[in-house]
Amino acid sequence: MVNLTPEEKRVVLFLLIVAFCGVVLNNLAKLNCHIKKLLCAETCLIRLNLNRISLEELLKTKSLPIKISQRIIDYRLEHGGFSSLDDLKEVKGIGNKRYDKLKEIFYIE
């Protein structure tokens, strides 16, 4: 028999606990859709909502100069919000390169 130290026995226990938790969570996720929220983070934790962000918050992202940030806010006020991220391309000063960067930071809701 393999002679394991107490630490190594703890590793075996850890593996079993992880596998056990996995089975239980899998099962619960199938039965209850609320449990699924435990397995994937909400979008608001990963990206900023472009339809709710203020000019100050927009500037804090350091992804845009002041002029373009102001244009985004103006566009939102004019059109009643963005319907999709593609609308960003209609804002003067946002080309393909900047758009690629921005779509990783913002989302639309």
Binding site: V2, L4, E7, E8, V11, F14, L15, V18, A19, C21, G22, V23, L25, N26, A29, K37, L38, L39, C40, A41, L45, I46, R47, L48, T61, S63, N96, K97, D100, K101, E104, I105
Partner: protein, 471 residues
């Protein structure tokens, strides 16, 4: 004196700092070193004076190495590049880093071997940062001929640490922009180190396992924690972790190196490999892991410390943690003394030093070992480690990032144990994915749940009033 080596390394660092502040001729320092060396030879028997002279020699050695790092070879590519020069040149060489793809742009470090400008050819050396406006399937060690305009890197930061300084610390003094694929001519042969090629292949396999079993966000976070690949971490997640002072969990550190050593040792023990063989194989695995994660400063520090411990274990001697930390610092600074001014280097060494110096003292002061409730003891120990690391890094963080996060200690109490669990699950997932895929599905569910919990706790912590402030 038990920690003579650590003292010598401190003097070596002081030498680097002083030469960076005051201009002194290389040969003047060399002359001083020869005189001190001669004196040390004469006063070999007087211990105290000999010790002082040895410290001065370590100081001069640091200064000389720093001076030497400013001097580039005559054939260095930076000597052929001027600020205003639009001549198109052809560079022959190989890709010396893993190409980084961001959207439509690709960048990599290119080791130049030959350069051709206006029908004139020269053999050259040195690194060039290549930026491409399109994506192309390129890999480390690919031999290429690049055609384009070479420019010197320029600094565009108001702070003391500019982009130019950052690049020069990596030995890069020139940049080439490639706008279309016609400017790249691939060659058949491959250059580069075999161990790096193997490590990158292994990293791709490990990333594939992580991406197969987890969704985008958890996969990105796990890749950062286990493999040191931070490219898939969303901006908001990174930013909120900076605010809570927990961004260090997204960096591969000594803890990861310890886990790798432990897992490999355990696996080798199960297949009944003897002690000496196990130590050697663990050391090789640590080196490979260092390359897998990109050999950043924290990983190199942890790897060297790990190797010192393994060597001590092999020779059946007690390792000294201060000396092993000093040897890690010396290893990095001998290769590139400019790394002393790198924020990553400073944070890594200051946090470890603060933990190993302050933690035992505070633990003794608060009589934590006397606590009978294990969970309470565990929480207090976690708090103390976080507190020590925070104390050790607060000045560097506030100077460089202009942020103070009083919430860091509280956040770390919850986040560090969670991050520990996630890292353990991450390694388990990678191993299961490679060795027994039927188990990987179960491990991935638990890992995803832990990562979601971590993000929620982090988001909650930074909402506390006064959690952080910029100045």
């Amino acid at each position: 004196m038990k920690r003579l080596f650590s003292i010598l390394v401190i003097f070596y660092c002081v030498g680097i700092i002083l030469v960076n502040l005051v201009w002194v001729n290389f040969w003047t320092i060399s002359g001083c070193a020869v005189i001190v060396l001669g004196m040390a030879r004469v006063i070999l028997r007087k211990n105290y004076i000999f010790f002082v002279l040895t410290c001065i020699l370590a100081f001069l050695l640091g200064a000389l190495n720093m001076k030497n790092s400013y001097i580039l070879p005559k054939c260095h590519i930076s000597h052929l590049v001027y600020y205003k020069n639009d001549a198109i040149c052809s560079l022959t060489g190989f890709i010396d880093s893993d190409p980084e793809i961001k959207g439509e742009q690709t960048s990599f470090v290119f080791s130049a071997k030959k350069i051709q400008i206006d029908n004139l050819k020269w053999a050259c050396c040195g690194k060039v940062l290549v930026k491409m406006d399109f994506s192309q399937d390129l890999n480390y060690a690919d031999s290429l001929i690049l055609r384009g305009v070479l420019r010197r890197s320029s600094g565009f930061s108001s702070r003391s640490c500019s982009y130019q300084d950052y690049l020069s610390r990596q030995g890069i003094f020139s940049i080439m922009h490639i706008k279309n694929s016609l400017q790249i001519i691939p060659q058949i042969n491959k250059d580069g180190s075999k161990i790096v090629i193997f490590s990158l292949w292994l990293r791709i396999k490990m990333e594939q396992v992580i991406n197969r079993y987890l969704m985008d966000l958890p996969a990105g976070i796990l890749s950062a924690m286990v493999l040191g690949q931070r490219k898939a971490i969303p901006w908001l997640v990174n930013n909120s972790m900076i605010k809570s002072g927990t961004v260090h969990i997204l960096v591969v550190s000594g803890f990861n190196v310890g886990i790798v050593a432990f897992i490999i040792n355990l696996l080798l023990k199960i297949i009944r490999i003897r002690r000496k063989g196990r130590i050697i194989l663990v050391a090789i695995s640590l080196l490979i892991y260092c390359f897998v994660t990109g050999a950043t400063n924290p990983v190199v520090r942890a790897t060297v410390m790990g190797l010192v411990f393994l060597l001590a274990h092999l020779l059946k001697r007690d390792p000294d943690i201060y000396n092993s930390l000093a040897s890690a610092a010396l290893f990095i600074l001998v290769i590139n003394p400019r790394q002393l001014f790198d924020v990553g280097f400073q944070l890594s060494f200051s946090s470890v030093f603060a933990i190993i110096y302050l933690y035992p003292k505070l633990k003794q002061l608060l009589h934590i070992d006397n606590y009978k409730i294990i969970i309470l003891r565990f929480v207090f120990e976690g708090f103390l480690v976080s507190f020590c690391a925070w104390i050790g890094t607060i000045c560097i963080i506030s100077y460089n990032f202009r942020i103070i996060s009083p919430v860091t200690v509280l956040a770390n109490i919850f986040i560090v144990p969670l991050a520990t669990l996630i890292t353990l699950c991450g390694f388990t997932l990678v191993l299961c994915g490679l060795l027994c895929p039927f188990l990987a599905g179960l491990v991935s569910t638990t890992t995803a749940m832990l990562i979601t919990l971590l993000l929620n706790i982090n988001a909650a912590v930074i909402k506390i009033p006064g959690a952080y402030f910029y100045f």
